[in-house]
Amino acid sequence: MSEPLLQAVNLQCERDDRILFRDLSVSILPGTLTRVEGPNGSGKTTLLRILAGLNDSYSGDMLWRGRPRHTYREEFLRNMLYLGHRPGIKPLLTPMENLRTLMAGRRYVTDKVLWQALEGTGLGGFQNVPSRNLSAGQQRRVALARLLVADEPLWILDEIFTAIDIHGVAALERLLVERVASGGAIVVTTHHDFNLPSMHRVTLGGRHDHGL
């Protein structure tokens, strides 16, 4: 059993006078995929943002490799990749420029590798087109191209399958499976039906009705 990368201990989060979750403890181990489930408004995105360190209005402890995360913030951020609802793509820049600036803050990657990553997400030929001329799905693919060059052992991916077509979804599923097999830790939320045999589940919003 390897040590967990990220641990949340007794998390409690309330938002606008409503308790989203309490006494929630999650351990993210290398080589596992954790799926956060729950109905709309149950706090899936909030939990992911807390795990990623974007939201700090919670009580409880966050541990990075067994130590308080806030004291190892730089190391945590260096080893964590977060993709949210908003793709993080500047409409005025081309996919290449976008990817280059996104990577510029994290590690040195040659243009050739980035070019290939964009080709790998099906954006071959669009590398130098302004991103605003791309469709929503293509813009998300630009963000997903980061996954192909990422060396971060921890991925936190919010609604990753949104606006991606069937082929893209299949390729993405394969990527996630391979990543887990090679020791990566992944946390996802998705409405898309996605199953792995060894998947961990975190279910939120137990008190809510699931029907309409």
């Binding site: 974007l54 260096r78 977060y82 005025l92 803050g105 090679s182």
Partner: protein, 243 residues
Amino acid sequence: MTMASETKLPVRTSEESVSALSAMKAVFSRDLKTAFRQPQDLLNPLLFFVMVVTLFPLGVSPEVSFLREAGSGILWVAALLSVLLSLDHLYRHDFDDGTLEQLVLQPQPLFLLVLAKSLAHWVLTGLPLVMLAPVLGVMVHLEGNSVAILCLTLLIGTPVLSLIGSIGAALTLGLRSAGVLLSLLIIPLYIPVLIFGTGTVMAASESAPVGGQLALMGAFLVLALTLAPFASAAALRISLSNS
């Protein structure tokens, strides 16, 4: 199995990340690049600056004596307002398209990245205002020496406006009617810069020594450079926490 796989994806130490300086450069050049792709947005604050200055001769008096006395104040107020107007964009687009989240999640200290963004904002708004000021200074009949001093005060003062304004922009991020609120928060904080900016020019026009005032404005700049990025970074974290 896990042992073998862990060697494939080792945890990196923070020393293995990109240096803060090159990350700052990347942020700075991205902001310039996006701005130049939409040149109209760059032009608008400048046009606003010119138009506000035009209002004073029309609305108060075109007399040379009035304009010469009030000119530095008019230019400073107009510059202040147009910086204020442009602040709303500082983080708004980044917030909407998600690049701000990615910025906050970069391993480098956030205050340095914020500093890079504030500097880019100054290069894109403050600096053009400084370059336009001599023309307008002549139009409000300021004398040669006063024009030079005015430009100097703007050159020292407008970065302070960008730096302090960045705090307000970060605090009001994602709020309804953020623009007006931003002005309410920031205008009181701009008052010292305005006072010294215009006061220095007035002193110069009376041939009084201005070295002391300029040094003080320099001190404001140093203070803003060292403190404002921390406040902006804290404010950004809070605003993103809330979104």
